[in-house]
């Protein structure tokens, strides 16, 4: 074994990995990847203190450790539970977990407006993915949903609180990326909301990152709002010399037009480290004000290997499930299936971003 800290062995869904002490179950599972990684709606590895709240990442610990093999009495939040040597964890191989997760998804959706057709996040929304992989087809909730008014947090960011799942990520982001956090969670329980108390502009060079960390469409970019559906835009990696941030971004283009600028995200939907090893958060100037192609040096199309409907064929490397997974799960993994296998609309031979103007059925019947 390598010198330094010894590695701990942990088995998740019958697959064993070795990880350094202090690693959470979730991060160990991400090392394995695919369906074995529990969905995480509130945890964000780059935001200290995040996690533990949404409860979608619950897993069953069927063996505590080599020393103390007793199973844990309750399901645990994998994002906040560290592994022990010899621990055995069941994620998708546990019916208890699947059941509890279904419950969590149902809870997250009972007050969600489900206005995906008019939501800018649609197509890259973690809640959509989650409902698709772990939810049920119908809701048993028959009461009126909770409604909040839309609020402008300055001229660049809009808060659509009704869609919020109170993951607290934007609060941690503002706390950790800016000198002075100007928004937070107000009120309790059902009335809890993200707010500025006295309606206030959020102004800080890095505040735009709250849009990227928001797993749903609660915080959206007003410079992009309603301009396009994400799956019609084509992600391209680009950079510029920026004095404030790393300047490494993702442009979302259609034709020669830059519709939106975001930070680069990794396969778990989190902001990626910059090439110089620094953080990948981008500044407001890069995000909101640099919308010309000639502002940027284009590196090439983004490699996306799994994220919703935007991972279309021409965006390369769609990773097919690892062979052993179906054997283990006794079913096809749903989350990482190729969307083109089931979708009538998304076909690999059609480049959606090449379609001029709104798409029509004729575009797909060619």
């Amino acid at each position: 074994m390598a010198e330094g800290t010894p590695l701990l062995k942990v088995t998740i869904d019958n697959i064993t990995v070795q990880v350094p002490a202090g690693t959470t179950i979730l991060n160990a599972a991400r090392k394995i990847g695919g369906d074995v990684a529990p969905p995480a709606m509130c945890y964000y590895s780059k935001l200290e203190g995040s996690g533990g709240k949404c409860r979608t990442c619950l897993v069953e610990v069927s063996k505590g450790s080599e020393k103390d093999p007793r199973p844990m009495p309750k399901l645990v939040a994998s994002c906040r539970t560290t592994v022990m040597d010899g621990m055995e964890v069941k994620n998708i191989t546990s019916s208890k977990v699947i059941d509890a997760r279904q419950g969590v998804v149902e809870f997250l959706l009972i007050n969600h407006p489900l206005d995906c057709p008019i939501c800018d996040q649609a197509g890259e929304c973690d809640l959509q993915d989650l409902s698709y992989s772990h939810g049920k087809e119908a809701s048993r909730y028959e009461f009126e949903k909770r409604i909040f008014h839309k609020i402008d947090l300055g001229d660049k960011i809009q808060l659509h609180m009704t869609r919020c799942i109170l993951c607290y990520r934007c609060v941690f982001a503002a706390e950790q990326l800016t000198e002075q956090r100007e928004h937070g969670v107000l009120d309790r329980g059902e009335h809890a909301q993200i707010a500025t108390y006295i309606e206030k502009n959020l102004q800080h060079d890095f505040i735009g990152n709250v849009i990227d960390v928001c797993p749903v469409g609660a915080l959206t970019d007003k410079t992009f709002r309603f301009k396009n559906r994400v799956w019609f835009t084509k992600p391209v990696d680009a950079h510029r010399n920026c004095t404030k941030c790393c300047g490494e971004v993702r442009l979302w283009m259609r034709g020669d037009e830059v519709f939106r600028v975001t930070a680069r995200r990794d396969e778990w939907g989190e902001v990626k480290e910059a090439s110089n090893g620094k953080t990948g958060w981008i500044c407001n100037e890069c995000r909101f004000d640099k919308k010309q192609v000639n502002d940027w040096v284009i590196e090439g199309p983004t490699h996306i290997n799994r994220h919703s409907v935007i991972s279309q064929g021409h965006y390369e490397t769609l990773q097919k499930p690892q062979e052993f997974l179906p054997d283990l799960m006794h079913r096809e993994p749903r989350l990482i299936m190729d969307i083109h296998d089931v979708s009538e609309v998304n076909r690999t031979n059609i480049d959606l971003s090449e379609i001029k103007g709104p798409a029509h059925s004729t575009d797909f019947n060619k």
Binding site: G51, V104, L166, R188
Partner: protein, 451 residues
């Protein structure tokens, strides 16, 4: 007559004030501790006493104290949980109102044992007048040399600070309490780390209930072993019970945990029987969070044995046929009470008090509330009862703090034991609005039952 350790002097005139309290033997335990015992020896006495936390969970106090981390150069804190907001629980209020010095005395000894130089009392905001009582008692204690620097010439320094809450039940949960004490939003923390390692301002902290800390005084005075002889099994010492509901004599009683539930409800010494000559229908024996029990299972366990007022006996049978000692909030329901309405009231409470941090509790408690509203108002369907069961099942155990469980358990128990009453509400929507379901087969309280 039960032995009284805490409330023995509660009715001595002027006991609220220092002079009388001291004359009656008050602060002797501080003297004994500081002059003859090491901090470790105090912890040892508490361990021997078998004292279990009186805040609800019943965790052995001595053991909890021995877990506190002692890193070099880092201050430690003792925090007294006086947030008492659990519906049906009002014993800490009584203690603090009538015997403030007993709490202060217990706090000094406990602070010494834990090495806390700054000790906090976090008190429920609505207990505004008690803050004055406590602060006055602290002033008196300080003026007489029991608080401050070098207490009794030992090198031990201790100050007690009182902090008022702002009306949130969740701030009684120990980590939410700590957050609130730090001036933050009262959200429970995600554990680990536990407060014993990283609590108030990231320092090792112990949070204990008012009654737990008051009980330290008799433990030191009589010795842990003597204290452990009172009571039965792992239910040692005395327990305060705040009895309320349809009984003749609601109030706070000190019991030694050897008496039966039947005696507690019907004897003249305690509750004095059911008010207005009615019959007992059901009871929540330990504060609103614990499962409700129908009369037959309350007085006898499923095995047909007498049920006693102690930790083990009240939880005999698990949640299927038992309940919990909880915080000692004893709520009695007579034949005229509607369990559906009662459960709805509790659901409304938990809905209102959820901090909203984790999704199962934030969304689940709303759902329970709305479903129960429907059922109570004669608008429910039979499938709503199953849905109710399913919703509570998916909250329980999946949340950050036990408030989620506390919201789920009363609903689960109500359906488990009173399903016919829920169904009656569905099947008789109009009748259920003007009339009560009554006793049904719970009428014959003393019959042994088989499950």
């Amino acid at each position: 007559m039960s032995k009284k350790l805490l409330l023995e002097k509660a009715h001595v005139e002027g006991i609220r004030f220092y002079d009388v309290y001291r004359r009656e033997g008050g602060y002797n335990s501080v003297e004994k501790t500081l002059k003859t015992l090491s901090p470790e020896a105090v912890v040892e006495e508490v361990k021997k006493s078998g004292l279990r936390g009186r805040g609800g969970a019943g965790f052995p106090t001595g053991m909890k104290w021995s877990f506190i981390a002692k890193p070099e150069g880092v201050p430690r804190h003792l925090v007294c949980n006086a947030d008492e907001s659990e519906p049906g629980t009002f014993k800490d209020r009584y203690l603090m109102e009538f015997l403030p010095h007993l709490l202060i005395e217990g706090l000094i000894v406990s602070s010494y044992a834990l090495g806390s130089n700054d000790t906090y009392i976090y008190i429920r905001g609505e207990y505004a007048w008690i803050v004055d009582i406590l602060e006055q008692a602290i002033e008196e204690a300080k003026a007489n040399g029991w608080l401050g620097k070098n207490i009794l010439g030992s090198s031990f320094n201790c100050n007690i600070h009182v902090q008022r809450g702002a009306g949130a039940y969740i701030c009684g949960e120990e980590t939410a309490l700590i957050e609130s004490l730090e001036g933050k939003r009262g959200n429970p923390r995600i554990k680990p780390p536990f407060p014993a390692i990283k609590g108030l301002w990231e320092r090792p902290t112990v949070v204990n209930n008012v009654e737990t800390l008051a009980a330290i005084v008799p433990i030191i005075n009589m010795g842990g072993e003597e204290y452990a002889k009172i009571g039965v099994g792992r239910s040692t010492g005395t327990k305060l019970i705040s009895a309320c509901g349809n009984i003749n004599k609601p109030g706070v009683y000190e019991i030694d945990m050897t008496i039966s539930v039947e005696e507690f409800i019907y004897s003249e010494e305690y509750c004095g029987g059911i008010a207005n000559g009615k019959k007992l229908k059901a009871c929540i024996p330990g504060g609103s969070s614990v499962p409700i029990l129908p009369a037959n299972l309350l007085l006898k366990t499923a095995k047909g044995e007498t049920r006693y007022m102690n930790y083990e006996s009240l939880s005999d049978g698990g949640f299927a046929t038992g309940s919990m000692m909880g915080s000692g909030g004893f709520i009695v329901l007579d034949e005229d009470q509607c369990v559906v309405k009662h459960t709805y009231t509790l659901a409304r409470f938990y809905h209102h008090e959820s901090c909203g941090q984790c999704s199962p509790c934030r969304e689940g408690t709303i759902w329970l509330d709305k479903l129960l509203y429907k059922l109570e108002h004669g608008q429910g369907k039979l499938s709503d009862i199953d849905l109710l069961w399913d919703v509570q099942r998916r909250i329980e155990g999946n949340t950050i703090c036990p408030l989620g469980d506390a919201a789920a358990w009363p609903v689960a128990a109500a359906i488990r034991h009173f399903r016919d009453e829920f169904e009656w509400h569905v099947n008789n929507p109009q009748e259920s609005q003007i009339k009560n379901f009554g006793l049904a087969h719970y009428a014959d309280a003393i019959q042994p039952i088989t499950v």
